[in-house]
Amino acid sequence: MRKTDELIEENNHKRELLNVENEKVYEDLLLYLRTDLRIDEHAGEEILMDLLDHLVEAQEDGKSAKELFGESPQKYADELIENLPSQKRRNVFLFSASQVLGLTGWFAASFGMISLIVSFFRPVDNSIALGSLLLMLLSVMLVAFVGVSVIFKIIRSSVFQAEKKKWQAYVKAGLYGAAAFACVVLIAWLFQDFGPVIKLEWWLFLLIGLVFLAFSKLMYKWSE
């Protein structure tokens, strides 16, 4: 497990020590920091842990989150972000690569497994159009990248707002997500048989998929 993931898990447990009011303010701050993709993830989690420890102790002394973060938690969070180190290019690259490999791996492995299962009942056609496959992967990556940026932006703009505004933002983000998904489906449907066709045995798909998944895990581990 990455050190950063350990911090995230510890944070999840420790947050339960907060009272309702403090938890609400703290979780807003947490969401605001975590959805900022410019800052170094590990440094961000470290300061979140520091603040949580502080808040827990302050709570025992009868102080509130307002006293810790001031009247405007968003202003306070912006001040923290300004002073946090930015995400290293190496980590951005490794993380993105691990996501792409992971996605491709899942796709290949499930394709192999499904064709194995189906082959018990009827003969299957294991041929796949390389052009369509590539186009599909590229569109998924593009949609995921743009989708995540847009959705994070919507969420960030509503973090410190009232509940009603938050709901509106979540609905908006959900609609964006659905539209993005529809785009991928449309592209897949429009370009069904595109480019050279290859035919592979089911176990080869599974093998390729598992190798990709293993590399994806490794790259994720290195990404800090």
Partner: protein
Amino acid sequence: MALRSQLLKGVLDACVMAVVEEQPVYGYELSQKLQAIGLPDISDGTIYPVLLRLQKNGFIRGEMRPSASGPNRKYYFLTDQGQAELEQIAAEWLEIAKPVSQLLKRGGGYEKDR
């Protein structure tokens, strides 16, 4: 306003480094110590942006250690670079502190007289 916050930033940095120099502390301890010294306004949340800034500049570094009360805490230590920075700020501050306070006290009297 910009100048005012710049000035405050420098003084705050020096105060935090001076406390850390005396003894490595974690966040909550640091705020308690600043409060005890008599700086209540800069004590609670204000210290974290300062700690981040000092770390970014390499003046302090953090390290996880078990605390007196049990759980692991991030303790902050002064680096050699921080030591040099602190000595420089302290020397500059001591040079201007007395005359400036005297001058500003008079300034207050002048305001009243008007």
